[in-house]
Amino acid sequence: MFGDERCVCAIQRIGIGAKMSERFFPDGMPQPLADTTTLPFWEAAAEHRLVVQRCADCGQTRLPPSPVCAECQSDRSDWQEVSGLGEVYSFTIVHRPLAAEQSLPFVIAVISLEGSGGLRMISNIVGIAPEAVEIAMPVELVWEDMSETLAIPRFRPRS
């Protein structure tokens, strides 16, 4: 398991007291859980970089991060930053809260990420009325700083 020191590094990189983003969800939302394999995703997120894991040997990308490449069995990988442009692959409008004072309903979506080698990720759609969300809608990344050490990638309609 990783120690606190790696999170502290992330704080130092983004700088304590950095300007906090617009907020969409309350502090009490479930927090990410990570192990040493998946932590680099969240460390990059703290720096507002959305990354996917890429096999250093065959170039195949993958999410969530995993120890070996399922294509070529290599355990060597690096991290590729993506643009944050994407489109809605599927979604659900949720009417039950996860945390106190959460505004309802909210949208959970699967986003196809441009330039990621065909990957998708689970996230939220914000900045639009939930009933207006549609599959294939173009979206763009928006970071939500939950704290000085935790930024969550969410998506909104492309401007």
Partner: protein, 407 residues
Amino acid sequence: MSGRKACIVGVGETQYARWGKIGDVTEHALACQAIQRAVVDAGLSMKDVDGLASFAEDRNEATFLAAELGLPALRFANMVWLPGGGGGCAAVGNAAMAVETGQAEVVVVYRSLCQGQFFRFGTGGVDASAPPDPAPPTVQPANSLMLASMGFAMPYGLLMAAAAYALPTRRHMHLYGTRPEQLGLLAVTFREHASRNPRAVMGQKPMTLDDYFASPMIADPHRLFDCCLESDGACAVVVTTEERARDLARRSVEILASEQGAPQGYAFGPFTNANIADEIYATGGTEEMAKRLWGKAGLKPSDVDVAQIYDHFTGCVLMQVEDYGFCARGEGGAFIESGALKWNGGSLPTNTHGGSLSEAYIHGLNHVVEGVRSLRGESTSPVDGAEVCLVTSGACVPSSALVLGRK
């Protein structure tokens, strides 16, 4: 090893109740009661039992139950590594493998749930009314592979199964024009089946399509009545050899085929994995497995007389009837609309007990129990002359299935 062909000789269950209603009996005491009843139903004694099998990270460990129940020796103790409700049929399949190889003579498969004593599955274990932790939110250590994977779902509020399985269902609606009315008809059909079943938690609560549309939206397109019940209760199934079954009073039920598993790259399915192959995202993930199952059984979908299909959510049933080949991909909605799943006159009477939507949510082992009853002619919604029954376990997760035959 023809004499060692596995069959099911007994089934049993406790009272089924709404979640939290069984608070004065422990979950393992309930498991013991279900196992006892199934063994009595088989005409066997606990002294005959030498194996126990379960699934989905069962809290009620086989080793302790074996001691509590007085098994003379525990020769087979099995847990299926398929999360959620995907492993019920696999546990029966593993029991069958154990008796066919001679590892054990009599294996009891069991499932017990007292959600009020632990947590409600439907909430994902989150108490939204709790005050937030005063510490600033940050990344927390994951102490299991499952939790590290959940780390890519949880921060977005994806913790409820109702939301997770809305994702493939919504995509199915987008691709094929599947409509809420079709999901609603499925829920209404299973409720009607439950109305004849005295064990069904919702047996006395009729449902119309208007009631369905009036039920509150949980995770669009899932309304409350698209979601299975959350129940307390236990059930059990006794597996032994045909040779042994010949001496027993009850009509035994043949296990014609059993399959289990997940497609390549599936992991836990759409709950945590957004990168399931596009061609199987809007499916139950069980199409490949279904082909293996029919091949093993030497049967085709049209040979099935009655089906017990895992119904955690209506859309997952719709996608499974396509996966198992009862209709073409994308035609599940029309298939349901045709009345195919109805006990009275449908081409594929399904969930004759009411299913998890209306009988009880015992992680689908109650579907195996009903499969056995339907072939013994003991279902409360009997299908005349039924000889072949398909039973499936949770779809949109790694899954398993059985084809049962009347002997």
